[in-house]
């Protein structure tokens, strides 16, 4: 595995950074928040990103995508992460689109993937429940067979873009006990299906998420995604790959708040000197720089290992997520602290990075969860 960007990836990175600077500064995310925008992202911008080919990076060519890898997509996600762009890559591409690609029937793929790749359709996955924490096997939502149909009941939480998605892929238990890995089945359910209610939730990072409650939602046999009872395995693999994407976004976020902080150190005067001349702050900045460099290497390695299907790819993803979680939070905390008073105000952007760092940390398993997984994978 070569830990270096290809020429194409360098170009992609440059395009993405330029786009983000001009079309999607942090002020856009702030405006969406202040307006309490009902969608939570920009459909126009999403469509532009589709036209640039970013939305379709992971989608097979047969369905309108570019059939490229995570190693390519992370370059774009890092750039978007720099300005906290809220467009639905996680929900629609990394979760929904990937589940469809990996496990969907030909009919399902035909019905959804081209619309996703063109930026027209939004799809999401409802996998998290009030007591599930980070474990995909903790599914209390039930699906029961009733004369050829399936009837689902339960509640899912913090479903990314759940209130705007055209359809939701829902994990439900069709067999087994509450924490069993076997017996979980995935269902693809249009949002307007009777019995499915979506309520917007307000999180600290202002990304659009929703409570999804299923009250005897009836769907046909054709809505099964993947094999009956075999949903856990598919979902795990897809969430693992999505984690790499999230880590790239986090890498962008930590890099940007670090850059902002460095800039402040170079311009803010106190005690008759630029505060960047104070050695204690210099050393902290230098250490933070090293941590971010290590985070970057981890994300690059995880993306390449996932693309290649290397045997240690799960390890590397846990490495990237544990380190990414800690380092983004550290960079945001140091960002607030080194900005001093202004850093703790809502008016300044530092707080946005802190809030996003915390949400990202607690998405797809926090640092502790991934360290536990690492230790278990390494048998100690």
């Amino acid at each position: 595995m070569e830990l270096v960007l290809s020429e194409d990836q360098e170009l992609l990175a440059k395009t993405a950074i330029d786009f983000v600077r001009t079309r999607s500064p942090v002020s856009r995310m702030r405006a969406l928040r202040d307006a309490q925008d009902p969608i939570g992202f920009s459909r126009t911008l999403w469509k532009e990103m589709a036209e640039l080919g970013w939305v379709g990076i992971l989608i097979p060519e047969a369905y309108g995508g570019a059939n490229m890898g995570l190693a390519d997509l992370v370059v774009v996600l890092e750039a978007l992460g720099r300005t906290l762009a809220p467009e639905p890559f996680l929900s629609t591409i990394l979760l929904g689109g990937q589940l469809l690609t990996q496990a969907g029937s030909e009919e399902q793929k035909q019905a959804w993937l081209p619309g996703i790749a063109s930026g027209d359709k939004i799809l999401t996955v409802a996998y998290q429940e009030a007591r599930s924490r980070y474990d995909l096997n903790r599914v209390a939502t039930k699906a029961e067979q009733q004369s050829g149909s399936w009837v689902l009941s339960g509640e899912k939480i913090q479903v990314l873009d759940g209130h705007t998605a055209d359809a939701l892929i829902v994990s439900a238990r069709t067999a087994g006990g509450q924490n069993d890995q076997d017996g979980i089945t995935l269902f693809l359910i249009p949002r307007d299906t009777p019995g499915l209610t979506v309520t917007r939730q307000q999180r600290i990072d202002d990304r659009a998420v929703a409570l999804v409650s299923l009250d005897s939602v009836k769907v046909g046999a054709g809505s099964l995604l993947g094999p009956l009872g075999g949903g856990f395995e598919i979902l795990s693999q897809v969430v693992d790959r999505a984690t790499v994407g999230l880590c790239a976004e986090m890498l962008g976020g930590m890099s940007q708040i670090f850059d902002d902080t460095l800039n402040y150190l170079k311009t803010r005067q106190q005690f008759g000197a630029l505060i960047g001349t104070f050695q204690a702050l210099k050393h902290r900045a230098a250490r933070l720089f090293m941590e971010i460099e290590l985070a970057r290497s981890s994300v690059m390695a995880a993306a390449r290992a996932a693309d290649a299907g290397d045997k240690d790819w799960e390890s590397l993803i846990s490495l990237a997520k544990a380190r990414g979680s800690d380092t983004f939070l550290l960079a945001a905390n140091e960002g607030v602290q080194m900005h001093g008073g202004i850093g703790m105000t809502d008016e300044h952007d530092a707080g946005f990075y802190l809030k996003r760092a915390r949400v990202a940390e607690m998405t797809f398993g926090d640092a502790a969860w991934h360290r536990e997984r690492w230790a278990t994978l390494h048998k100690y």
């Binding site: 005690f271 008073g341 703790m344 607690m362």
Partner: protein, 396 residues
């Protein structure tokens, strides 16, 4: 000693007789309680009654001289009062910067007229005070402040801007630092002065923090006239007063963060609601390790504040420990808030609305608010400098 026991018995009886029963067991978080002032709001009518009955005896300021309306108690008697209030689980009748900051400062540096004018109002909770120190360009480097005060007749005319003025929008008076001699070295041209917030030319604007709360304001001062007799101590010698007061402030912040571990739920109990246990052990070993580290550090810190308290009681001279308590106490609170969030997991991500419990939402806001603790009241970096210089004697 016998007298003290008599005092204890009387005090206990008096408190039992006079404290409204409903307030027993009230615990006050940071920023909660009776702050007093012209715009005062009270948690409930009984808390207001509690203030009044205590203020009438001077027991809102137990150790202040009786001539200004204080309790006139000795240190030992004041401790008895505190102990008996704790035994009956009675909350503080009054809180705020009047009691903790400007009151003690006036007792040390104020003129007799200033004491007469202000102390009794503080004791009764009539007037609420705020602190006008920081400015946009003068954060950690406080002494570089630029707000100008020019003497014109009997008045100083003040122009400038203060920032991080806690609750300026709810306060009646401000004690502040102004520059009265721009030519002097920066520590020597500063004056400490008292200003009525109702004066023409004073405007406050709340600052929204990342937690969504607005405990601080910007305060804009345009040609504000302040009587010259409101100068505390000497003109151009305000830095002396400011340093004494900063010490009160750090001690107050430190004690707010230092001791309060008792009343809180332990983290172990909190974890039971959110995470898996294997037998008696938290299954997530990384989380368990972090909890253990935090709890042990918190106890060691609490023992250290106890030790400082015991040393003070034993009459030992105080060290420059207030910086230590400020740093470690605020960082411990940040660690605690971060840890509680990690325990709650995704439930700690809510801002408001559906899907989160009230207590989860407020914990999350507390966590965000805690990030400011290591900045306000003197950044940790400045406190570390102070320890290096004053405690360790390291060279400049």
């Amino acid at each position: 000693m016998a007298d003290l026991e008599k005092f204890r018995a009387e005090t206990r009886r008096w408190l039992s007789d006079n404290a409204p029963p409903s307030i027993k067991g009230t615990t006050l978080g940071l920023g909660e309680g009776n702050w007093g002032g012209r715009k005062a709001t009270y948690p409930n009518p009984d808390m207001k009654a509690w203030l009044n009955v205590m203020a009438a005896r001077g027991w809102t300021a137990p150790e202040w001289p009786a001539q200004y309306g204080g309790g006139g108690l000795s240190k030992a008697e004041a401790k008895v009062l505190r102990d008996e209030m704790a035994a009956l689980k009675l909350p503080a009748p009054l809180v705020g910067f009047g009691l903790t900051m400007i009151g003690p400062t006036l007792l040390e540096y104020g003129t007799e007229d200033q004491k007469q004018e202000h102390l009794s109002k503080i004791i009764r909770g009539d007037i609420r005070w705020c602190q006008g120190y920081s400015e946009p360009g003068s954060g950690s480097d406080l002494a570089s402040l630029q707000t100008r005060a020019v003497l014109q007749g009997d008045y100083y005319v003040i122009n400038g801007q203060k920032i991080w003025t806690s609750y300026a929008n709810y306060s009646d008076w401000m004690f502040m630092l102004v520059r009265t001699d721009p030519q002097a070295p920066k520590h020597e041209g500063i004056t400490f002065i008292l200003m009525d917030m109702a004066s023409p030319g004073v405007e406050t604007r709340p600052i929204k923090l990342i937690s969504g709360s607005s405990p601080f304001c910007e305060t804009f001062l345009t040609d504000v006239q302040v009587p010259a007799k409101n100068v505390v101590f000497k003109v151009n010698h305000g830095w002396t007063v400011a340093k004494a007061l900063l010490n009160h402030e750090r001690t107050m912040i430190a004690s707010a963060f230092g001791s309060g571990t008792g009343r809180r739920q332990t983290i172990g109990d909190y974890a039971r609601k959110y995470v898996d246990f294997e037998g008696e052990r938290i299954a997530d070993t990384t989380l368990r390790t972090r909890m253990t580290q935090y709890e042990m550090d918190a106890l060691a810190f609490k023992l250290t504040s106890d030790r400082a308290r015991d040393a003070a009681k034993a009459g030992l001279p105080p060290g420059s420990e207030s910086s230590m308590f400020k740093i470690y106490g605020t960082e411990l609170n940040q660690r605690r808030q971060e840890l509680l969030g990690s325990i709650a997991g995704p439930q700690a991500l809510g801002w408001e609305g559906s899907g989160f419990e009230e207590q989860e939402l407020s914990q999350t806001r507390d966590w965000l608010r805690s990030r400011g603790n290591t900045i306000e009241g003197g950044t940790s970096e400045v406190q570390l400098n102070i320890i290096a210089k004053r405690v360790l004697g390291l060279p400049d």
